[in-house]
């Protein structure tokens, strides 16, 4: 039996009305049916379409470009070996001279005697590159960073990579021969803004690197990475050890480089 077009339209309208009636009045009013004992009928409503995208779990990327740091949550003695009786190397404070939270780069961990966890950390003391052991309990939560800053003293250039890919380059000023920027592996310890000091530009990063010669400098003689009010001197060997860059570049770096980023000075 065929259905003519007008009949089809009428059917469609009628069915729509019926559907609307049913939907508004509830199923019970209109349904004329007995519960069938035949359980092979498919009669249940379908599952709704999911609100979430289909799961796409991915494994972690390689940690070849990953660095770790942790805040110092309790003052502690950093020691030569992971043992409470090992010789002390330095006192680890919870605060930096800038009154920010002190942080340390993480290099390794082990279980000491008695099963306690010890962590090998990079220290911001002389000689540069010193590491020592602290109890895990002295540190807060681990933070992972994907960035890495390399300062090339020959090319007078700073290069920031993220997950191994270069994302930033800038010419820099480094220490004059009498006040060299020390070679080695360091980390960004804090960042300062909203201060008024044109010599440092709009933004300054503190690092764990110390000047070998400015040991009497108030606040310890730390090497910073910051802007400048003499960009015309860059690139060059012009500073007392700090790494300077043009203000627009330090601001750009500020958007790309989190605290804790390793700083490699070659």
């Amino acid at each position: 039996m065929t259905i003519t077009a007008p009949e089809r339209r009428r059917l469609r309208r009628a069915a729509f009305v019926a559907g609307a009636l049913v939907a508004s009045a509830g199923v019970c009013v209109v349904v004329v049916s007995l519960l069938t004992t035949n359980r092979s009928h498919t009669s249940l409503p379908p599952p709704p379409r999911s609100a979430l995208p289909l799961g796409r779990p991915t494994p972690l990327a390689s940690d070849a470009h990953l660095a770790r740091w942790a805040p110092v949550s309790a003052a502690a003695i950093a020691r030569r070996a992971p043992d409470p009786s090992a010789p002390p190397v330095a006192r680890l404070d919870t605060r930096t001279p800038e009154h920010t939270r002190n942080i340390v780069g993480l290099l390794g961990r082990t279980r000491g005697r008695g099963g306690r966890l010890w962590v090998r950390v990079r220290l911001a003391i002389l000689p540069n590159g010193t590491s020592a052991w602290v109890p895990r309990r002295a540190l807060g939560g681990y933070v992972f960073v994907h960035t890495r800053l390399v300062i090339d003293r020959r090319r007078l250039q700073a290069v920031l990579s993220r997950d191994g890919r270069v994302v930033f380059r800038a010419p820099v000023g480094i220490g004059k021969p009498a006040w060299p920027t020390p070679r080695g592996e360091f980390y960004v310890r804090d960042r300062l803004t909203s201060y008024r000091s044109p010599a440092y530009g709009p933004l300054a990063f503190g690092t764990s690197a110390r000047s070998r010669v400015m040991t009497d400098w108030p606040a310890g003689g730390y090497i910073g990475i910051h802007g400048t009010d003499h960009p015309e001197l860059l690139p060059g060997r012009v500073s007392h050890g700090c790494i300077r860059m043009a203000n627009r570049n330090i601001l750009r770096l500020g958007r790309l480089m989190p605290v804790g980023t390793p700083v490699i000075v070659r």
């Binding site: 089809r8 059917l11 019926a18 559907g19 009636l21 049916s33 069938t36």
Partner: protein, 215 residues
């Protein structure tokens, strides 16, 4: 006409489940009329096709869904009971079957009492070698638990809130069973990050494929 099995096709919602969704109402009507339905005054079509629910939660729909859940629990309880009766399972498989059988029996009892007089009796199950051969047992258990949980997830959103609360207490246990069975089968316990729900038809088909539900 009352006294025969009648069904009413409600033409407002999706007409067919587990099939490509975009059927127009006109197509549905055409199919129904061709199948020999008659058009009542007011446009409500009485046909011989399966009855459809609107999928808006209601106690009546809860009962239908719970009867489907009951079938699944009856199937699971019978499957594990029969496997233990055959006595061919050893070690961890046996422990798994013993623990899970107790759970499924408790689930079945729970759903039965929720349905009261509306509860359907169990059909006859034929499990073949899935209950006597340990390797087939564990494969069937994986399929059974994965399917049970997909079916519960599929119907969950269609339940009223109180019934959903009750069903939710069961579905996570089915998921634990599924993961456990998979470990014993040497498979990954959690194959995907988000468990895909199954419609009723899909679930029935999966159970049939695993030799657990007749045609």
């Amino acid at each position: 006409m009352i006294g025969e099995e009648l069904t009413v096709e409600v033409v407002a919602g999706n007409a067919d489940h587990d099939e490509p969704p975009r059927r127009t109402r006109a197509e549905v009507l055409e199919r129904a009329v061709v199948a020999g339905g008659a058009l009542l005054a007011g446009g409500v079509l009485i046909t011989g096709l399966p009855r459809l629910a609107t999928s808006a939660p209601s106690p009546k729909q809860d009962a239908e869904i719970l009867n489907f859940a009951l079938l699944i629990e009856q199937l699971q309880a019978a499957f594990y009971a029969e496997s233990l009766t055959h006595g061919r399972l050893r070690g961890q498989l046996r422990q798994f079957a013993e623990v899970v059988e107790g759970h499924e029996r408790a689930h079945r009892k729970f759903v039965e009492s929720a349905l009261g007089s509306n509860a359907h009796g169990p059909p006859r199950f034929r499990f073949g070698e899935t209950t006597s051969d340990p390797a087939k047992f564990v494969a069937a258990a994986v399929a059974l638990e994965d399917t049970a949980l997909a079916a519960y997830n599929g119907q969950g959103p269609n339940l009223t809130a109180p019934t959903l609360g009750a069903a939710a207490r069961i579905v996570s246990v089915e998921a634990r069973h599924a993961a456990w069975a998979r470990v014993l089968a040497g498979q990954t316990p959690a194959p995907v990050a988000v468990d895909q729900p199954a419609g009723e038809g899909q679930a029935r088909a999966a159970l049939k494929r695993s030799g657990l539900l007749g045609g």
